[in-house]
């Protein structure tokens, strides 16, 4: 599956962030490659939802929407701070930053990584269209000039769900 490993987990949800009660939430996580961060730098993850409303998506009663969270981890696998939740509709960009001072790293350079989780609610109306793309950047904290840039796509849920077939509950 390439550099970005995908893990999908089916979770029951008792409440909905979308005003409907989902039967299931499909959580898909992507591990962005580790990146070095200098004392003078800030890391930033950007996500955007490029989905457009389409009548071809079965049962779509809501507009395009992607929800999930972004978390940074240190080289020991420990989360840095806490994950940040997001919800983006069509064309919206959401960004989370991590300045070096928040990494609790030592020395001039530390290595961190980011995990992006896309949580797709599955309701009686189907799922909202979500095409989630991301980029990870590091940049000079003062000038804003970019030093590292990595981009990719968070693949939508598997076909049967996209086609409106309810998944089997775990």
């Amino acid at each position: 599956m390439g550099m970005l490993r995908k893990t999908a987990v089916l979770l029951f949800a008792a409440a909905s962030a979308f005003g409907q009660t989902p039967n299931t939430i499909l959580a898909t996580s992507y591990n962005v490659p580790p990146v070095g961060l200098a004392m003078s730098e800030t890391a930033q993850v950007n996500v955007v939802n490029t989905a457009v409303a389409s009548s071809s998506v079965s049962g779509t009663a809501t507009g395009p929407s992607c929800s999930g969270s972004i978390a940074f981890y240190n080289n020991n696998g420990t989360i840095i701070g806490s994950a940040t939740s997001f919800t983006v509709t069509t064309g919206q960009i959401f960004s989370v930053t991590l300045p070096y001072s928040s990494t609790v790293g030592s020395g001039a350079h530390t290595v961190i990584r980011a995990v992006i989780t896309n949580e797709t609610p599955i309701t009686a109306f189907g799922i909202p269209p979500c095409d989630l793309a991301f980029s990870l950047e590091t940049y000079d904290s003062k000038s804003g000039v970019t030093h590292v840039f990595v981009s990719g796509v968070v693949t939508p849920p598997v076909g049967p769900i996209r086609d409106g077939v309810s998944p089997t509950a775990p």
């Binding site: 930033q44 950007n46 996500v47 955007v48 490029t50 457009v52 389409s54 009548s55 071809s56 998506v57 509709t89 069509t90 064309g91 919206q92 960009i93 959401f94 960004s95 095409d131 989630l132 793309a133 991301f134 980029s135 950047e137 940049y139 000079d140 003062k142 000038s143 804003g144 000039v145 970019t146 030093h147 840039f149 981009s151 990719g152 796509v153 693949t155 939508p156």
Partner: protein, 167 residues
């Protein structure tokens, strides 16, 4: 396989009502608008963003638009139209001052769209790159490249429309 960078957002348009204000086919022929959404990227006060499109087709010209969007999904200024003949490179730039951003840095994205005739057999093939560079020195900071998939190619996803067999 859905791929954002080469994913095709397809709309059916009568050429007579082309969004590009030009007629590329006889009236009544269906055309498709194929779009590639580039990943979001940061732009510093000292930087300029640039999208380059390159027509790799042997004997054809590609017409389309390049648009930049801010973090709210609003277009920055207006989309820039281009027509690139075989082997030609067309570039569209976005200096930080045009983004409407505040502070030392803002996040934007770009979208490339071009028209393909019915059946997807128009011999137009676009490659692109996105760069950010220091406005003063021209030194490149960010670089992303790819190809805009054509309708004739089986990859990507057609959303909700099937070209009519007759019209």
């Amino acid at each position: 396989m859905r791929s954002m960078l080469d994913r095709k957002t397809v709309g059916l348009l009568f050429v007579a009502a082309s969004a590009f204000g030009q007629t590329t086919s006889p009236v009544g022929i269906w055309t498709y608008t194929t779009s590639s959404n580039l990943p979001p990227f940061g732009l510093a006060v000292s930087e300029t963003a640039q999208v380059n499109v390159f027509n790799t087709a042997v004997a054809a010209s590609c017409s389309g638009t390049v648009a930049f969007y801010d973090g709210k999904g609003s277009v920055i200024g207006s989309a820039a139209s281009f027509t690139a003949g075989s082997g030609q490179i067309t570039s569209v730039t976005l200096p930080y001052a045009s983004t409407g951003g505040s502070g030392s840095r803002t996040v934007v994205r770009a979208e490339i769209a071009y028209q393909t005739a019915a059946g997807g057999f128009a011999p137009c093939s676009l490659s692109y790159s996105l760069e950010t560079y220091d406005t003063g020195t021209g030194v490149t900071h960010t670089f992303v490249s790819g190809a805009v998939a054509q309708y004739a190619v089986a990859s990507g996803t057609l959303q909700g429309v099937v070209p009519p067999s007759a019209h």
